[in-house]
């Protein structure tokens, strides 16, 4: 799938957990992505992250590193 769409979706998830302390926010976002995204979508996001890290928010960086 198109990487920028996946990035937008992931940032959106992260933002909606932003009221939680960092550790919880990261974990909630990871759990969410694992529960609702296909393995291929997760793989595509990680692959985009490897070449496009600067486009990711600090909060999402923490998430993608742990997916």
């Amino acid at each position: 799938m198109e990487a920028n769409k996946l990035l937008l979706m992931a940032e959106n998830i992260c933002a909606n957990f932003s009221a939680y302390p960092e550790e919880q926010r990261t974990q909630q976002t990871i759990t969410h992505i694992e529960q609702f995204w296909t393995p291929a979508m997760r793989k595509d996001l990680k692959s985009d992250f490897s070449t496009n890290e600067q486009a990711y928010s600090p909060a999402l960086k923490l998430v993608v590193k742990k997916i």
Binding site: M1, M9, N16, A19, T38, A40
Partner: protein, 945 residues
């Protein structure tokens, strides 16, 4: 049939005929049932009878099997006591009294038959008949007319009066497309007027003038079509004569048989008697036994069912190699083989994950279950989704997170106990009309009302209804408003501390408390960007928290936002905070758009969940299903609907089986959807009609309407009701049979002989459905899940003693504004909704006479915005968004605030979904239909085309 002659005097006493006078078994108890718990004892015709205090003598008689004659009384409306046909004598009254209008009393002795009463009754009937056409033989109501029945009951054989001044030549009003009003047959019983007032709540009818000149009048002496009448049919249902009569009965005659079934339109799930003569459906009449509607209906379910026999129904399977080719009609077998071979080839070439399925909320539970099973077991992946994705998927997410189950908490009847009712992003009088009428009844009894909606929906102000608080928020700010309400409640210490301590997770509550107290959540902070008066937020919050039992009802104006899931959780937080969960009159209630949204979700048509909301990664469930289904099941979620389209454009997704859904018209940014569908190599559409999506299809399986199959629907109250086959499928196969045959062609065997066997399998494999069976549904008419050993009769109210999840989970609902912003180029925000007479993208309703009321989508614009653009009512305008543009006609109205425009999406030519963006809810990808930045420009005047 009446056999009465005008002329000679006939005064002989005739024994009262006490047989039930009911058409096709519809028992009428004369007056509504009392709600009292007290029982009184009385004697009727020497028989001791026990009935509820507050019941009428008439009702007590009928309950005891003593059938008094009656005309102006019917049990859907309060007694009026005008015809006097139901007179009885009692030991407590000196003169005969109208039994419909006199309440029972302890120790009362009632006599229903005597020479004196018989004479009086006969005299009354004689007067009625003397001014009534004696054309029973040719009257469409012959066999279904209470006047005719009553004349027989009182033994009237002759009328002493010759023809004098009468009403026999009055003109018939045939303006309504579905029913006629024949004033010559009217007996002025006022049942229609009371039905319109008390049941429907529209107050469209009056009896105008006095005495001989009295006449039923719609609105201000208008014809029915021009009046405020919303064609709910309640007056027609109530009319005891052929004065108000369905045109279909006039055309085809009265029915010979009937079966109870469920409306195939909205999520209220009204029960209807489908009355028919063989393969000809005569009419649909709302069933009193239906617990969702209790005998009421709206124009869609009552009248707009003729699409089922529309001439453009496709009844032959069609195939083609290329979407630019002509369709080739083929046999069912050829179609199944062609489709199965295509799918198998695609999977061989591109891998298991390159195909998937879409179910619809218009499908039955059994069909939905089969499609998800076919996808998981026959296709071997979890790429199954439902159109609930684009409407209520945030409900599933939000309520599961907070309460532990993806469903509303109450039954509809519960609103009758509410002291405060709050509607958020829902317009029930248009979208869920029968529930809208029920709510209006409660509001007229004095319940308070809060409306959170950018638009002044009918409930904000209509006949005898006025909202106590209307929060006309800027589209997209629901979360902020709800957070602000919670902030007010907490700051003023109005929370229900006992409930919080006993029922909710204390740590999560403390975390939430800290969050909600922050000043960013105050009404003053929120009011600035939500564009509302902070005092209104404050007042609404105080009313919700302190006004007694408070219930929240919400619709797509909550879910179809980029923060849809957060809004659902904010609603749940608010209900928990104030203890408004777990009893009558309270709760959190999603008003589901389509008839089987709840069922589609229950049956496992989301890519991450098996039936019963169990995640695909749950080993225990997966192992059980794999064994039962004899298939390898994936533990990872599949693609969601929008992801399937994205993957198709990326070249990874090649085939789709779409049942009962039209994404090319109903999904957002339809140009994107069209691109995705065009990119696929095999699209299979199963539908009644060659819809927009079928333009991109390679296989067409003709579908069957709700009248042509057996099954069940589950409404917004979790109520499972039967759908019953009335006529044979026009294409020869019911939808569940088509899916089964397709599965067999794919090489995965299915051998159900009836949908009841599919439900038996659902019950065997789904703990919340374990006691559900067709037998139980036949016995009880309907049940609300969970229905299992713990709740054998179903569960009207959820989370009574504890939440399904254990302790209630407060979730932090940060307000994250949508990325869709208005600005200089697109200064207005477009939001969308429904109108009463049309439904969704109009596939069904546009094929009926309902289009007489709404044959195009119109843009509503505030007069200030209209004036600054030089737009007058009826002018054609262009509606441009960042995605695309379309053209509509506009009207200026202050129903909509400045800066916001509104339209419906029922007509494909208006292309409203062409211009909506691809933004979606953060948690579920439910599209953000409700916020699109647009510009509106005048194109040309209304007179120019």
């Amino acid at each position: 049939m009446l056999n009465i002659e005008r002329g000679e005097n006939n005064n002989q006493f005739v024994e009262l005929n006490t047989e039930s006078v009911s058409y096709l078994g519809n028992m009428d108890y004369g007056t509504p049932e009392s709600t009292s718990d007290e029982i009184v004892s009385l004697v009727i015709d020497n028989k001791t009878v026990r009935t509820k205090a507050g019941n009428s003598i008439l009702r007590a008689c009928i309950e005891a099997g003593i059938h008094l004659p009656k005309l102006c009384a019917t049990d859907s409306v309060n007694a009026f006591g005008s015809c006097r046909l139901c007179i009885v004598t009692t030991n407590m009254h000196r003169k005969p009294v109208a039994s419909c209008h006199t309440l029972v009393a302890e120790g009362m002795e009632v006599v229903t038959q005597s020479n004196k009463l018989a004479k009086l009754r006969k005299g009354i009937m004689e007067l009625y008949i003397s001014d009534h056409p004696l054309d029973c033989l040719t009257c469409p109501a012959n066999g279904d007319c209470e006047l005719e029945d009553m004349a027989g009951v009182v033994g009237l054989r002759e009328v002493r009066y010759g023809e004098g001044e009468n009403h026999l030549k009055l003109k018939k009003d045939t303006s309504n497309p579905y029913f006629t009003y024949d004033a010559s047959k009217c007996i002025l019983c006022s049942r229609c007027v009371r039905a319109c007032d008390e049941v429907q709540g529209t107050f469209a009818l009056t009896i105008e003038k006095r005495g001989f000149d009295s006449k039923v009048s719609p609105s201000d002496h208008q014809s029915f079509i021009d009046s405020e009448c919303v064609s709910c049919g309640a007056c027609v249902q109530a009319c005891p004569t052929a004065s108000l009569m369905e045109k279909s009965v006039i055309e085809f005659g009265v029915a010979e048989d009937k079966k109870m079934t469920t409306c195939a339109y909205c999520g209220v799930g009204c029960s209807f008697w489908a009355e028919h003569k063989g393969e000809q459906v005569i009419r649909m009449t709302p069933a009193k036994q239906g617990k969702a509607n209790e005998g009421h209906s709206c124009v869609k379910g009552r009248f707009a069912w003729t699409y089922a026999t529309s001439e453009d129904r496709i009844t032959t399977p069609l195939i083609r190699d290329n979407i630019n080719d002509e369709w080739k009609p083929v046999s069912w077998d050829e179609a199944f083989t062609f489709a199965a071979n295509k799918f198998k080839e695609l999977q061989k070439k591109h891998g298991i994950d390159c195909i998937g399925s879409i179910t619809s909320s218009r499908c039955t539970n059994e069909e939905t279950y089969l499609i998800q099973k076919l996808t998981r077991a026959a296709m071997g992946n979890n790429n199954v989704d439902t159109c609930a994705r684009v409407c209520h998927s945030p409900t599933g997410y939000g309520l599961k997170k907070t309460f532990g189950t993806s469903a509303g908490t109450q039954n509809f009847k519960s609103v009758g106990e509410s002291d405060v009712v709050m509607f958020i992003g829902a317009n029930p009088t248009d979208a869920h009309p029968v529930f809208g009428s029920r709510v209006k009844q409660r509001l007229r009894q004095g319940a308070k009302l809060i409306v959170v909606d950018p638009r002044k929906i009918d409930l904000v102000q209509s006949a005898h209804i006025k909202a106590d608080h209307h929060i006309p928020l800027k589209p997209g700010t629901n979360v902020a408003i709800l957070n602000a309400m919670a902030h007010v409640i907490v700051k003023n210490n109005l929370q229900d501390q006992n409930f919080l301590e006993e029922r909710c997770d204390s740590q999560l509550y403390q975390n939430w408390l800290e969050f909600i107290k922050q000043s960013k959540n105050s009404p003053e902070a929120v009011a600035q960007y939500a564009q509302v008066d902070p005092q209104v937020i404050y007042d609404a919050a105080v009313l919700y928290a302190t006004g007694g039992k408070a219930a929240i009802y919400y619709g797509l104006g909550v879910t179809e936002h980029s923060q849809g899931s957060s809004t659902v959780m904010a609603i749940a937080n608010l209900a928990m905070l104030t203890g408004n969960i777990g009893k009558e009159g309270v709760g959190v209630n999603p008003l589901r758009g389509q008839n089987n949204v709840q069922g589609a979700c229950d049956m496992g048509s989301f890519p991450h969940e098996f039936p019963g909301y169990r995640h695909v990664s749950d080993d225990k469930t997966r192992t059980q299903l794999a064994k039962e289904w004899q298939a390898d099941l994936r533990s990872e979620p599949g693609l969601r609907l929008p992801n399937m389209f994205d993957a198709a454009i990326a070249g990874d997704f090649k085939g789709m089986y779409i049942h009962g859904e039209d994404p090319a018209q109903s999904d957002p940014n339809t140009l994107h959807v069209a691109e995705a569908l065009s990119a696929m190599e095999c699209v299979i559409v199963q539908d009644l009609f060659l819809n927009e999506t079928a333009k991109y299809a390679h296989v067409f399986f003709p579908g069957s309407s709700f009248l042509e199959k057996d099954g069940t629907f589950t409404n917004a109250e979790r109520r499972i009701s039967r759908v019953r086959k009335i006529t044979n499928p026009l294409a020869g196969m019911a939808d569940w049979e088509v899916t089964q045959a397709f599965s067999n062609a794919l090489g995965y065997p299915m051998n159900y002989s009836h949908p009841s066997e599919i439900m038996d399998e659902v019950a065997r494999l789904t703990p919340t459905f374990s006691n559900v069976s067709y037998q139980l549904l036949d016995e009880k008419t309907s049940v609300q899940w969970p229905c299992n050993d713990e709740n054998p009769d179903g569960t009207p109210l959820m989370h009574m003693d504890k939440f399904v999840i254990g302790k209630g989970q407060f979730m932090l609902t940060e307000y994250v504004p949508t990325l869709e912003k208005s600005g200089a180029k697109f200064p207005l925000l477009l939001t969308t909704g429904r109108i009463l007479s049309q439904y969704n993208v109009g596939t069904q309703t546009r094929r009926t006479e309902n289009s007489q009321w709404h044959n195009e989508d119109i843009l509503e614009i505030n007069p200030t915005d209209a004036e600054s653009r030089g737009i007058s009512d009826g002018d054609w305008i262009s509606l441009d968004s960042r995605v695309a543009k379309t053209k509509l006609r506009a009207i200026a109205t202050d129903r909509i605030p400045p800066g916001v425009v509104y339209t419906t999406f029922h007509h494909p030519d208006s292309g409203v979904n062409v211009i909506t963006t691809e933004l979606s809810d953060w948690a579920t990808n439910c599209p953000e239909y409700k916020v699109t930045a647009v510009q509106v420009n005048k194109l040309y005047e209304s007179s120019t085309t």
